[in-house]
Symmetry: C2
Subunit: 497 residues, 2 copies
């Protein structure tokens, strides 16, 4: 007789494998699928989601969970795994089917309206659908919040990054806001004084050369192409499965920086996936710890390591050779000037490291107000513009570059945005801890070698999978809870000195 916990691991393994199939189909859709396959692919993904949902909500799972909880496993990974199984089962069974169906329908309607509204920059086209979607998201958040005994907005945050709540985020973001109000004008002033706007190399930078560089740097950073691919897609992403990782980028022959840095970013995500604990593969506890932790792993590679003086000095000659240009055209200070340029932008995805958090803080404020019922769809454009004026002292000229720029909310995705900045802060805090433990990290970066950093990350983050929630993981890895100090120190060193 197989015990209840072992039976559960078999059932959750099956669910994880269906999710792997979805991940590969999603990659295929974004990279190679002919346009004519779109409708069938949507059906395939929806059907596999339905299959996974049916597996997760099968009555036997509830019975097995009850039995396993009556005699829980002693191993802390296994006991966490059981907890995460219960959590997933509860999330899936808690929501009334009518609500889920209404949400899926309204999300699809609202997304279509958003595409229309974004093209014409007319928010009012979207307002009624968005308002209806908000009503459903609030209901959904309320049900989840009641089930897990947390505030509705926190229930949403916890879906994307378990183990953190508004009460943790609010003071951290508030402190950073204060820092930014002081730092941003000073950074801009310093930038004006320096010769920052010099071009790096001379275009065109042939795609084939860019791709070869990206592949080389990703491999050198630790990505094993025996179990990974690099392809092109309209938007860079890291997909696939831990044993078959698919990263993508896009190439612009006028600017190599975007491809190189996005590949290093996605490589950070990929290395995290590759480093997850194999003995818990396909179990909830073997998965990544959440989106903020995931983002910390991409940003520690892209922002902390790859934009360091040491690494920029290392890649300059490689770039020069690959593009067959003078090494002086890719000198470290030129690369630094280009890759660490601060600019108040209307658009989050174009923002630099220093101002990016302002975009996230704005969205965090607004989405909490929406979920808590303090902000209506109709009032969003004005609130957005007020927020941008307050935080960055710029006002978008239209909603296309304002509250319509991101797809997230208009598909019903709330509680996700904080992950970006939590990830940036965590990356800085992890890097500070890693530098304390491994004083020669920068010597390694100067040789293009990420292995010492990666070893530290594996020991302190990757190998735990979802063993810990966000706050516990950060505490364990760095010795203190999340705090913007290391991020501020990093930014001060990079932009204010």
């Amino acid at each position: 007789m197989i015990d209840a916990y072992s039976q559960l691991t078999g059932l959750f393994r099956r669910i994880a494998i269906v999710d792997e199939a979805k991940a590969i189909l999603g990659w295929d859709e974004a990279t190679v699928m002919p346009d004519g396959g779109a409708a069938d692919r949507a059906d395939q993904l929806a059907t596999l989601s339905g299959v996974a949902h049916d597996l997760l909500t099968a009555p036997e799972i509830g019975d097995l969970l009850d039995a396993a909880e009556a005699a829980p496993p002693a191993d802390p990974f296994e006991s966490r795994n059981l907890y995460l199984m219960r959590r997933a089962h509860r999330q899936a069974t808690m929501l009334p089917r009518d609500l889920v169906e209404a949400f899926v329908r309204q999300s699809s309607t609202c997304e279509k309206k958003w595409r229309e509204a974004k093209n014409t920059s007319e928010f009012r086209v979207l307002a009624p659908s968005f308002s209806a979607l908000i009503t459903l998201v609030r209901e959904y958040a309320q049900v989840l919040g009641d089930a897990f005994d947390v505030a509705p907005y926190d229930a949403l945050v916890d879906q994307h990054q378990p183990g953190i709540a508004s009460a943790d985020i609010i003071p951290v973001f508030a402190r950073f806001e204060t820092f930014l109000r002081d730092a941003l004008p000073r950074a801009e002033e310093l930038q004006r004084q320096a010769s920052y706007a010099m071009p790096v190399g001379a275009p065109p930078f042939p795609e084939v050369a860019q791709e070869a560089i990206c592949r080389r740097l990703a491999a050198q950073a630790g990505l094993d192409f025996h179990s990974a691919r690099l392809d092109r897609a309209a938007h860079p992403f890291c997909g696939g499965t831990p044993g078959d990782i698919r990263i993508t980028t896009r190439y612009d022959e006028a600017d190599f920086c975007s491809a190189v840095m996005s590949v290093l970013h996605e490589t950070g995500h990929a290395l995290y996936e590759a480093g997850l604990p194999r003995e818990y593969a396909r179990q909830p506890v073997g998965l990544a710890a959440g989106m903020a932790v995931h983002e910390s792993q991409s940003l520690i590679i892209e922002m902390q390591a790859a934009r360091s003086d040491a690494y920029l000095g290392y890649i300059g000659p490689i770039l020069a050779e690959a593009f067959n240009q003078e090494p002086t055209a890719f000198a470290m200070d030129l690369l630094a000037g280009r890759l660490r340029r601060v600019e108040r932008s209307f658009v989050r995805v174009e923002a630099d490291e220093l101002t990016y958090p302002a975009h996230v803080i704005l969205r965090f404020r607004l989405e909490r107000a929406i979920i808590e019922g303090d902000l209506s769809a109709r009032d969003l454009p004005a609130a957005w513009n007020d927020g941008m004026r307050d935080l960055l002292d710029v006002v978008p000229p239209d909603d296309m570059r304002g509250c319509l720029q991101d797809i997230h909310w208009y598909t019903g995705l709330f509680g996700y945005f904080p992950s970006y900045t939590l990830g940036a802060m965590t990356a800085a805090q992890l890097m500070a801890a890693a530098r304390r433990a491994e004083p020669t990290l920068d010597d390694a970066f100067a040789r293009g070698d990420f292995a010492p950093l990666l070893g530290w990350l594996w020991r302190n983050v990757h190998r735990y999978g979802s063993r810990f929630g966000f706050n516990d993981l950060v505490m364990l890895a760095t010795g203190s809870k999340l705090d913007p100090t290391d991020f501020e120190t990093h930014l001060t060193k990079r932009y204010l000195s």
Copy 2:
């Protein structure tokens, strides 16, 4: 209240969609998957097969089938669909789980042994596993045969090509054997007299030029790249789904013929998939009618149309231009000499159009004897070599080029081989009927235009999906049952005049 038949179409649609996901994952595995993904991919495909099997064997399907059969749909496509649903359900539920599991395990074991045995050409390494596998296949065939009230071997044939049985195949193959014994030496003699061995063009033929030609000819043959792709794989195949067809080939810079002809072959498969009845998409009746019919569609394009004088005359100048060589180097008679060369080969996949059926007739004889208990694993190598001597008067120098050459039997796949030659014969019979109905087909081929042929095929084959079994479909499309006359006439015209 939705009626039982409509509920069944919903459930079978779901099964078909899971099968579509498997098809895309299978394509991915053969074309782009990094090696490291192999083990996970095997799990993904096995799990999705399990999901589809669970959906097909759910108790509610049996109840719904009973209810639907009590008041069957009047429409002939729908009533055939209901019949095919029952058939699929019966096939899936009939086999005891123990037997299926033992078969899957033994198939995997035997396949591994086969790879080992093939490399060293040592059949005896494989004999015990193969013997054990045969025992399970015979048991499996017995259960299916009992369920469908046919002989065990016929139950296997019917899985790959519904609507045909040994009683139909035996006389057709016997008659062709007689034809071949007479025709082959005469064709060889004529070939010796002609200047057949002249080279076509001068290598190398760059891959990129070959790929451009393949893409152009496939598109011109009717393949819509809005819903299709052409990629590279170790073995050419047609995969994907009717709305997202994936064909593959491989390129040899010393010889362009293999890529061009294999792409036209796969295009024939692809055009069949694309022409299946959309109103029954994702229903059993909307699927291809079987492997022999599928092969007839690839061979009517590759062998009947693309190797015709008219088409070879058309592609000569295209090849010359693409390879930047003299048009005279790609003259029709040179292409014909190369692409219609007859040679007694040991290996089926290298065989020409005339001798290929001998390879299939041998396999048909032997696999029937194996399933009927008249031939043991141990005696296979000798029986193989005797058969080759009898049919083609050649004896393979080793088992690698003899009974170990094909993977089929060693994974448990029996009853499939006849489809290749039934397809070739059907292709000739369909082409003769199409020529009667559309007398200007060859004028169109001379312009590279397959549209008149394709229109006829669509009206007489594609649009029926699985509405008819093999014998009925051939009768309806050509006015007579399958008969090797048209194939013999075709071969006589091409090789004996």
